[in-house]
Symmetry: C2
Subunit: 284 residues, 2 copies
């Protein structure tokens, strides 16, 4: 690639806009990756090095009180699409001290007493942190819709609330990177079968997974609506081809890297008199 014509960002290649039809996406695409599987580990390590440096700068800004900036990575996708794998392989590239990871389960009784965004707001990253949501507020318009947990009016209200909420997070210095990990029913079948074939993976399997699988098309429809309605100026949704795990990891790491680069992070200035402190220390 010549420097005079930079490649388009991966974000611009994977972001959706307008009408979304998930059947037109290839789960095994390797969009934007210039190489094969064997090249991916090296590419990911290189991204990791840069990510790690930027994350430290982000963290420094928050810790010192110099900057309100924080980053939120939202991961959604069907079972086995790789949300946990992203946490391990992408989040694992940076200092865990700067991560705040929340895995959202079925709401508890206490959570159900509050608005659906209550537990989400409580889990937002502080300044300087990279928050990771393994599932998120989007569950409340996905399973909520598919399982008819609430009526259509409530789903409509929730969409408005989600866009308001994301706008407010952005206004407070937050950056959201939203990734839908796209797999096909065949990809999932293979991965669930692998879990059932391996006693060291039984713990990842829930009988309920197949009940959700039976509703595949309904979920895809609900996802398409969510991706369409919430790809706003507060953060577009990206459809990340996730049929190949190595590509999925590379792609999400790259999306995160692009966002961190764009923040133009700076080391905080000293909030003390450097020369005076040097003199004090020398005397001790």
């Amino acid at each position: 690639m010549s420097k005079s014509s930079p490649a388009p960002s991966l974000s611009s290649q994977l972001a959706v806009s307008g009408h979304v039809d998930l059947t037109t996406f290839d789960s095994r695409a390797t969009t934007g990756f210039d190489g094969k599987k064997a090249d991916a580990a090296k590419a990911l390590a290189a991204i990791g090095e840069e990510l790690d440096g930027l994350q430290e700068k982000l963290f420094a800004g928050g810790r010192s009180g110099a900057s309100p900036t924080k980053v939120l990575l939202v991961l959604q996708g069907m079972d086995t699409s790789g949300k946990g794998g992203i946490v391990r392989h992408v989040a694992g590239l940076v200092d865990p001290q700067g991560l705040s990871i929340t895995s959202f389960k079925k709401p508890t009784a206490t959570e159900l007493e509050h608005d659906f965004l209550w537990r989400i707001e409580n889990a937002l990253p502080e300044p300087g942190m990279i928050g990771i949501f393994d599932r998120s507020h989007y569950e409340d318009v996905l399973i909520g819709k598919v399982r008819h947990l609430v009526d259509d009016d409530e789903i409509s209200r929730r969409y408005i609330a989600i866009n308001d909420f994301e706008r407010s997070f952005r206004a407070s210095g937050g950056v959201i990177v939203k990734c839908f990990l796209h797999i096909t029913p065949d990809d999932q079948k293979e991965r669930l079968a692998a879990r059932l074939d391996d006693p060291t993976k039984y713990w990842k399997y829930n009988a309920g997974d197949l009940d959700e699988r039976a509703l595949w098309d309904d979920y895809q429809d609900a996802y398409a609506v969510a991706l369409e309605r919430c790809s706003t100026g507060n953060g577009a949704w990206h459809v990340v081809p996730s049929g190949r795990k190595w590509y999925r990891n590379w792609a999400v790491a790259t999306l995160l890297l692009e966002q961190l680069r764009a923040l133009d992070l700076q080391w905080p200035a000293a909030d003390f008199d450097v020369e005076a402190e040097k003199a004090r220390l020398a005397a001790m």
Copy 2:
């Protein structure tokens, strides 16, 4: 080393028992490490691989509800002793999803309204997790004593409360690994000077650090008491020579590994009918 006479565990070599005099410890010792600095990165990577596997098993047990086991790594030490470095380089060896990291600062107004253990109990790791405390309940008998924040009777009460609390955590399936990162005033001087010489490190520097430094001997005395009184059957204190960062990281990783090995972790059994699920999946 021959298999017939296994080396003593690092824990047994670094654990304190009886009277503690910190002036007799060498901060630049490399106890138990068979090699030089150049060998440490490879050794740490090998530990990381085994730690990562054991951590996944621990996590699986907690996530599946099969086991109440959890691990807590308590890090204490003077400024620059490397508590943050341990989080980055040791905790960074495992899946961040299985970590729950808490960095304890000066108590907030809300925290001060409660007993000193309140915020600690709220931060304890859930089953399956590795919790890391960057500073801990020990601050309340260290700075509490040195700065005369409370009287001696209260310090005595707190020691009893701490041992009770650790006993109760252990009874609930918790394992505590306590590490005092030992450095000398010269080690600290060098590291503080490095922070003052490097604008990318200013954010790590607080003018208050020198006020604490001025009380070095008082802190060492307070630490000696804490290490003596709380090296109980619920978890001994280890004095980790921390004048060499590479040794410090290797040693804490090894202490954690030894504890995880000793747990004899097992993959949870399936809580569903494996063959029936295979048949259901095949039909979908």
